[in-house]
């Protein structure tokens, strides 16, 4: 098998002869003796066999189309319009690589320039790169960047305690080499970032990170104030935002952010069991920030005829030129995911993005209202997508019983946030259906009363 992908399989003898070799093994004559070996691998199969085999394996996954699911916690079931998928499957986009030759890559370059332009609008910061791996690595790179901006003299970076455990883990791993101290700022009794604690901790920090809605889905009310505290202490202010909220919520740049990050894959990409995703990375138009920025950046310029054209730019920050002194090691990024986000944004426009944000707010409010009937929402406030609910009985029991009823419940918080007790995060988006929520609440009611018996 495999020969159907390999045209010259049919011409090996002829080609070898033409270049004066007598066998394929001659081409490997520089390999130490005994190193070439027979592998213990299965035989190849026909496409049909692999098609059925992979279909059968994938059929063992239960999808959110088959089973109402209330999982969120950083990954959300948004609907991706069919034309977005259709376009990014066009081989000219799909199979190209990094546009090293701009003259035959104007399509991808322009699409990425448009992505940068749209994200700049959303985040209110004019310099956007053409993607990081995901939101988590974008925060981590931002943390490293704030340290570089302080020339390594400050090695402290503040993050909220109410942050995704995934993101925390990534930040810690990424910053270990640079010996950063990552400090978690707790939430107050309202679930908001504790400003007093922040003031205590902010001294000597290179940067402060906050998200416009925290891991519990609570909209952070004091983003602007947090930024002021950071700036007063000489720290850079890094703001994370879910792009789907930015049609109705103020742009991070307007709230004082020096750097903004987010998750582009919430627009235009399905969940894919967690990947691929794409991190948004935006900064103020400030030479010092731009110089320290990680990632690929597309710029507009002109061609030899004076015509508008696009090209990768500011590459002297990058690893293929600066090597060990680069701002980041990133090379392959998530360009296609970024293009998908751009296509989705171009489809939504300002009105659609605002409408999307409102629908999510309303659906979250409905979910919260109904869940309050069967559990306790620990913090008052405005929720976006996620809602935490505390139960009187162990959540694993609830989870089991829900699953038996064909419903996938929320994300258990107790493991990473034991102080919250038997609390789980339930999420809503524009795809959430009323009948799902009603079924969930009914099931929860039943389960709780059963348990109380």
């Amino acid at each position: 098998m495999g020969r159907h992908y390999i045209p010259n399989s049919a011409h090996k003898e002829e080609m070898l002869k033409e270049i004066g070799f007598s066998s394929i093994e001659d081409l490997f004559s520089d390999v130490p003796k005994g190193m070439v070996k027979e592998f213990d691998l299965p035989e190849g199969k026909s496409e049909y066999e692999v098609f059925t085999e992979m279909n059968e394996i994938l059929g063992k996954n239960k999808t959110v189309l088959e089973m109402p699911s209330f999982l969120g916690a950083g990954t959300y079931f948004h609907y991706v319009p069919a034309h977005v998928k259709y376009i990014i499957e066009r081989s000219e986009f799909l199979t190209a690589y990094t546009p090293y030759q701009p003259e035959i890559s104007q399509g991808m370059l322009q699409a990425l320039f448009e992505y940068q332009s749209m994200m700049a609008e959303l985040y209110g910061l004019p310099i956007v790169n053409s993607s990081m791996y995901d939101w988590g690595t974008a925060i981590a790179e931002a943390a490293l960047m704030t340290v570089r901006l302080h020339r390594g003299k400050k090695k402290r970076f503040l993050i909220p305690k109410a942050l995704s455990p995934e993101k925390k883990a990534v930040i810690r791993t990424y910053t270990r080499g640079a010996d950063l101290e990552i400090v978690e700022v707790p939430w107050d009794e309202k679930g908001q970032l504790d400003l007093e604690k922040l003031k205590e901790e902010v001294k000597d920090s290179a940067g402060v990170y906050v998200e416009m809605s925290n891991f519990f889905g609570l909209v952070e009310e004091n983003v602007r104030e947090i930024g002021e505290i950071a700036h007063e202490a000489g720290a850079y202010f890094v703001v994370g935002a879910d792009p789907t909220m930015l049609g109705v919520f103020e742009a991070p740049g307007e709230l004082g952010a020096d750097i903004a990050v987010g998750e582009a894959s919430y627009l235009g990409s399905p969940m894919n069991f967690g990947g691929p995703r794409a991190g948004v990375f935006a900064v103020r138009n400030d030479r010092s920030l731009i110089r320290q920025m990680p990632g690929r950046i597309i710029g507009m310029t002109k061609d030899a005829d004076g015509k508008r054209a696009f090209v990768m730019t500011l590459q002297t920050r990058e690893q293929h030129i600066r090597r060990a002194k680069a701002t980041s090691n990133i090379c392959s990024n998530e360009a296609l995911v970024a293009v998908a986000a751009a296509i989705h944004l171009a489809t939504l426009g300002p009105k659609g993005l605002a409408e999307l944000g409102e629908i999510i707010l309303k659906n979250t409010a409905y979910l919260k209202k109904r869940l309050s009937e069967v559990g306790e929402v620990p913090f008052e406030g405005l929720y976006f997508k996620d809602v935490p609910v505390r139960f009187e009985i162990p959540y694993d029991v609830i989870h089991e019983r829900l699953l038996e009823r064909g419903i996938h419940g929320g994300y258990y918080l107790g493991k990473h946030f034991p102080e919250l007790g038997e609390t789980a995060l339930f999420a809503a988006t524009e795809t959430t259906r009323k009948e799902w929520v009603d079924r969930l609440v009914e099931a929860l009611g039943e389960i709780i009363s059963e348990a109380e018996l």
Binding site: E43, E47, T98, F249, A251, N272, S332, E334
Partner: protein, 496 residues
């Protein structure tokens, strides 16, 4: 042709979306200080206009299905369409990463199965599929090296050795993980200079990052000696898998002495490059390093026939990316492996190497191009256009641009850094003899042009959507967004 930006195509009032109604029409109050007041100048278009715009943009882009794409070190092989079909199964797209393991047995099995393949292919004992790309994998690998030495109390091991021919990501990743990078020179053969290596290793050596075959496409024939030197000094040997296509199914990094390996699924395993990503950079390690891998791993409980996410990794470096990796890419790679099988994989490397050597031999001796280092290449070959530049003023970049005029993608240029005016050509196994012949023909014709009419090469490309792009201006006067363009244009600071 010229396609306007999507902002120029926008007309107020047009709508391209449909959205479901909210569950309940309640008023949700956004605190005034957080309500959006700043302008949100997104484009307004209908769906047909969006589709036409991006269709036209796509037609201004060159992909693997457009023709030969021999970008060195990037392994731009054909991406089988069956990969895409399987990756579009609802069991990929519509699955949440936090679902109960019992509802994602298919996904976990796919990850587990891929790991088994990769282990045998590389001779490693355990893999993480978490890294999103090669460089993310390198960072994972060097972070493991760091954790390993620290764990053993060898805090002084802060030097990472990297040959001067290495990919730029190698030193960058090492630096990110906190290492000091020590560059090892190449010898006249284009391979690692053993003497220099001997001199460089010390009790501060954390490891050596190596690509084999290296970026000249030359097999490091003294690899066993190299391994011995590094290991003896207490360092670990890291394999940059960017060039695995050269030895796929024939030779295992593990058998060469490597302790850690990263692979690029988007290169060797035929998943599409997406215009720059997503990729996937799994990292494999020998048994003694497996406790340092990122969490979670995917394990299989044979007794209960159950796959599960395994967070029990005692000395784990943590996470290098959210969640479990680029799953949709992983699905494609496994599909490819199952179709290829043992013999298919070996055929890949054999024909990839044959193609590169065929091209090398056919082009060799052409005026203006020089073949540095050893003649026998693996999956790629590097020529230098230095003689051409000296004799005619035509540079490697000019040659690259002129190739575009013939409807072909250029090689990688100016890399590896140790070769002046480098043209780094990796045909891969999925191009035909006729395509190789045509490529050699084009390079020969360009040589003739360089010596007879150099202007035509220097001013190339001539037949592309845009003429040669001014990247100096782009860096001097950055225009990163449409809003910046309009502002600068208004101020008269740009004239295009």
């Amino acid at each position: 042709w010229d396609e306007p930006t999507i902002f120029e195509l926008s007309r107020p009032g047009r709508i391209g979306y449909t959205l479901p109604k909210p569950i309940e029409e309640v008023e949700v109050e956004i605190p005034e200080k957080l309500r959006r007041t700043s302008p949100l100048k997104l484009p307004e278009l209908s769906e047909p206009e969006v589709v036409k715009h991006y269709t036209r943009l796509s037609e201004m882009n060159y992909g693997v299905d457009s023709g030969i794409y021999p970008l060195g070190s990037c392994t731009m092989k054909y991406n089988p369409k069956i990969n895409e079909e399987i990756a579009s199964h609802p069991g990929v797209a519509y699955v949440h990463p936090y679902q109960d393991e019992r509802t994602v047995q298919g996904a976990l099995r796919i990850m587990w199965e891929l790991e088994q393949w990769l282990k045998e292919i590389t001779g490693m004992d355990r893999f993480t599929l978490q890294p999103a790309a090669g460089a993310n994998g390198e960072f994972t690998g060097v972070s493991i090296i760091r954790a390993y030495h620290l764990d053993r109390g060898e805090v002084q091991r802060d030097e990472m050795l990297v040959p001067d021919s290495a990919h730029g990501t190698n030193p960058a990743s090492a630096a990110m993980a906190g290492f000091k990078v020590i560059e090892i020179p190449s010898n006249e053969n284009g391979t690692v200079d053993l003497e220099a290596l001997e001199n460089a290793v010390s009790e501060r050596t954390a490891g050596l990052m190596l690509t084999n075959p290296n970026t000249l496409g030359i097999f490091e024939d003294e690899i066993l000696e190299i391994a011995k030197i590094v290991h003896k000094a207490g360092g670990l040997l890291y394999y940059d898998g960017a060039n695995l296509n050269a030895v796929l199914g024939k030779i295992r990094p593990g058998d060469m002495g490597f302790d850690i390996v990263h692979l690029n699924l988007h290169k060797t395993f035929s998943t599409p490059h997406g215009g720059g990503g997503p990729g996937s950079g799994p990292v494999g390690v020998k048994d003694f390093l497996k406790d340092y891998l990122p969490v979670p791993l995917v394990s299989y409980d044979e007794e209960n026939d159950r796959y599960y996410l395994d967070y029990n990794v005692p000395k784990s470096i943590g996470k290098v990316k959210e969640l479990y990796g680029n799953f949709a890419v992983i699905v494609r790679a496994l599909t490819y492996l199952k179709i290829m099988g043992k013999e298919g994989l070996r055929e890949v490397s054999e024909v990839a190497v044959l193609n590169a050597n065929y091209l090398t031999q056919k082009l060799k001796g052409t005026r203006g191009y020089e073949l540095p280092g050893k003649e026998l290449r693996k999956h790629e070959t590097v020529f230098s256009a230095e003689p051409m530049k000296k004799e005619t003023g035509v540079t490697a970049m000019d040659v690259a641009k002129r190739l575009l005029d013939f409807g072909m993608h250029a090689p990688t240029v100016y890399f590896p850094l140790i070769v002046h005016e480098a043209l780094m050509i990796e045909p891969t196994e999925t191009v035909s003899k006729e395509e190789l012949d045509a490529y050699v023909e084009a390079l020969k014709r360009i040589s003739e042009e360089a010596y007879s009419n150099p202007e035509v090469v220097k001013s190339a490309p001539h037949n592309t959507a845009v003429k040669r792009v001014d990247d100096v201006l782009a860096a001097k006067k950055p225009v990163i967004t449409w809003r910046m363009y309009r502002e600068l244009k208004k101020k008269g600071e740009i004239d295009y």
